[in-house]
């Protein structure tokens, strides 16, 4: 089993180890579909911002980072110049910290966001709570001109008034299903626990 299939949802310290495994059922998009969607989203971002001046791409840890990286590289190849890029871990801003405690990644924000058009990128938009956290996190780094949201999959079930600006695929799901997104494809399936004490995160 690839490491990527194992998602550690709890800290191992303090006796709260937990691992879960994604069990795929249906392939929704293949790698080519994903590449096409990313390219389209890149064009939409350029169009919406009338170019890439003052645009900064920020990938949300962890699933959003490969999406953001792919979008940034698509943008760079279209416009032919380097683009400001950062990664953001929103663990410290979550509203469910006391029930999930996902180990944080290190946020890397080498560029100022003040007076920029920030494009937050994530793999799956579900309840909207992670995006809510990301909005708080971004504004801790400065005052952007605007914040936009790009997601590979919008699976519905929003719990907050949040909507994406750029969507790879609208995918109706049931709450019990899970969605796995990578640049190699999008799959629908379920998640099962393989260690006790696990609670699935909301992607």
């Amino acid at each position: 089993m690839a490491d990527a299939d194992l998602r550690r949802t709890r800290a191992v310290a303090f006796g709260r180890s937990g691992l879960s495994r994604f069990v795929p059922q249906t392939t929704v998009l293949n790698a080519d579909d994903v590449a096409r969607a990313l390219k389209r989203m890149a064009h939409e971002i350029i169009e919406a911002n009338s170019g890439l001046d003052d645009v900064i791409i920020i990938g949300m840890e962890r699933g959003g980072v490969p999406i953001a990286t792919a979008i940034a590289s698509a943008l760079e190849s279209i416009e032919n110049h380097a683009i400001e890029f950062g990664t953001l871990d929103v663990s410290f801003y979550r509203d469910d910290i006391s029930t999930t405690s996902i180990l944080p990644e290190v946020t890397k924000m080498p560029y100022s966001v003040t007076n920029k058009h920030v494009v937050l990128c994530d793999d799956v938009l579900f309840t909207g709570r992670t995006v809510r956290a990301a909005l708080d996190a971004v504004t801790d780094f400065g005052r952007p001109k605007s914040i936009q949201l790009a997601v590979m999959v919008d699976r519905g079930h929003r719990e907050l008034p949040i909507r994406p600006d750029f969507v790879g695929k609208n995918l109706p799901t049931s709450r019990s299903e899970s969605v796995r997104v990578s640049i190699d494809g999008v799959e629908l399936g379920t998640t099962e626990r393989i260690e006790s004490g696990t609670r699935e995160s909301d992607s």
Binding site: R16, S98, T107
Partner: protein, 306 residues
Amino acid sequence: MNDLLTIEDLGADGINEIMLTADSMAEVSARPIPKVPALRGKTVASMFFEDSTRTRTSFETAAKRLSADVLNFSASSSSVNKGESLRDTVETIEAMGVDAIIVRHRSSGAPRQVAQWAEAPVINAGDGWHAHPTQSLLDAYTIRAEGRDFEGLNIAIVGDVSHSRVARSNIEAFSVLGANVTLVAPPTLLPPHVEALGATVSHSLDAVLAETDVLYLLRMQHERMDQALVPSLGEYHRTFGLTPERAKQLPSNALIMHPGPMNRGIEISPEVIDDPRVRVLNQVANGVVVRMAVLYLVVGSNGGVI
């Protein structure tokens, strides 16, 4: 088990996980506004039954950077001096509603007792001669931050091991991470049955310096002279202190560490304090980020365990 009482409770995986989390905390601490809402609405009780401005301040800073509220309790201002039992004191504090209890106590084992009585997780901020796990975590983090691999690293811990909680926890932490630990002290400053601690022993600092990657100096207390454990602090300095001559024998890429506060002219000569290999201020800075990581993992995880 929510508590952090000893390094043994964590093991290598736990230590590494805290260090990984501390990387995120270091990033937060480097921001223009070094504060995140991770523990907003949480209250952390800081119960210091023994004075320690440094450790208390470090924990308090860590808690505040995570937006936790800190409830300060110090023995001098409390009824502990009036003979109230430790349990009564802890239960009183807990009744005020706290999400974690940081305990510093001059009695070995007191945090473990507190953990038995308290619902909230307990973080040991140093107990007697027993353990000081967050100090060891920050020390390990400081070494790791230098890009050093613990596997095979030679660490010498010099001084009063017998009365040192730092030494006990550091031996455990460094050893479990793969380092070779040598204790350097006169026999009177080593605990009886020192082999129980699982480290090599030397009575000569000069004999180990050339092979040392990390020189960890322990604080020497004046009262050890009164107990006839060393003849004088002068002799201690000449025999076990880091003098300029000894500093020359130490490899150029070695690290010099001390849990603070340093006794200039005892553990270390004043001339050596500004040696570029000294990492004492890094230790202090790392203390905050490591304690942020501990608080985040302990308090942030609390209550949601299925």
